[in-house]
């Protein structure tokens, strides 16, 4: 395919295998999605560190960390900001989860998830719940100025738990 890559028009939907990736979570540490099989993963794509709405959105996710942990879910924020910006942002806000840097090649993971705005060159405001087998079970795209909250993610995790429970 040379340098041409196919990009989905909208966010990847339920039932799609989550594209694998390896991204930096700190200057010298990476996270590989396929290395997290066996537990649900929540991905929060957001446009930029420090901007007001993203801050609110991630602050609320931060408060929800115990609720996500109760589902055994791992939470990551993803934007095109660099590792050093992420490090300062995490320290400033006290986030109890990692921010991944979709920095080089810029936005390539966001593009593969259909969560990239080619005009602004940033990730969109998109949420994904990935099941323990690595399949997207729920996704949601918010308008850029609308903070989606955590209720949709928690409902999707509830649904995973319900479907994973053997019928009695």
């Amino acid at each position: 395919m040379g340098y041409v890559e196919h990009h989905p028009k909208g966010v990847l939907g339920a039932g799609t295998e989550a594209p694998d990736f390896t991204l930096h979570r700190s200057p010298d540490d990476t996270v590989t999605l396929s290395g997290l099989r066996g537990q649900p993963v929540v991905l929060v794509f957001y446009p930029a560190d420090w901007s007001a709405v993203c801050g609110d959105e991630l602050n609320v996710f931060n408060e929800a960390v115990p609720l996500l942990a109760a589902h055994g879910a791992e939470l990551f924020g993803i934007s095109v900001d660099g590792v050093w910006s992420h490090r300062a942002f995490v320290a400033d806000r006290g986030f109890a989860f990692a921010l991944l840097s979709d920095f080089e090649p810029k936005g390539v993971v966001s593009r593969r998830y259909g969560a990239y705005d080619f005009h602004t060159g940033t990730s969109t405001r998109a949420l994904f719940v990935i099941d323990s087998a690595g399949v997207i079970s729920w996704s949601h795209l918010s308008p850029i100025d609308v903070n989606p909250g955590v209720d949709g993610v928690l409902d999707a995790l509830d649904a995973l738990t319900t479907s994973a429970t053997p019928s009695r």
Partner: protein, 178 residues
């Protein structure tokens, strides 16, 4: 659209008639400047719709960015034990810029409460579970920042700026029986 998952109950801090046609629930943080800005607007709307509206305040402290938020919520919960929740709530927002131990002591004095008893309640984390329960219910309901308002169970997506319109249209809807 997000909706309130935890119904209003007698466990809530509530102001106004229980059978009012409107119930407004705020998820708020005492240190959040946007909540501070919303405070006089909510007050004014409660006066304007006096008798027609019930107001409920639930805790949603963003404690990582607002280090005084939980301590301030403790002051209000402590006051609530003595029937003085709304006085403490109002004093905290009216003096938001001064949040801290000195202010909490002054609020105790103003309300005739023992600052030592407040310290004891704080030391034994007496209200931690209640505050966290408020917050988790808010997260489940789609609270996406503070303040978040629910009017008759429906999230007010336009926030504080949309509150007056939401009240007007919800009240009109109630009247027409829809």
């Amino acid at each position: 659209m997000s909706h309130l998952r935890i119904p209003v109950s007698d466990q809530d801090h509530s102001f106004g008639p229980a059978d009012a046609p409107l119930t407004l629930v705020e998820y708020g943080d005492y240190q959040c400047p946007y909540c501070g800005q919303a405070f006089p607007i909510v007050k004014q709307l409660l006066q304007q719709y006096d008798g027609k509206i019930r107001f409920v305040f639930r805790n949603f402290p963003l404690q990582e960015i607002h280090p005084e938020a939980v301590d301030a919520a403790f002051v209000a919960e402590f006051a609530a034990e003595h029937g003085e929740f709304w006085q403490a709530h109002d004093l905290l927002y009216e003096n938001q810029i001064d949040l801290g131990p000195d202010l909490y002591q002054r609020i105790c004095e103003a309300l005739g409460l023992s600052a030592a008893d407040l310290g004891k309640a704080a030391a034994e984390n007496r209200y931690t579970a209640r505050i966290r329960a408020d917050e988790e219910g808010g997260i489940r309901s789609g609270v996406n920042g503070t303040p978040t308002f629910f009017l008759n169970g429906v999230i007010v997506e336009a926030g504080t700026a949309g509150l007056a319109d939401a009240i007007r249209s919800t009240l009109a809807g109630e009247r027409s029986g829809s």
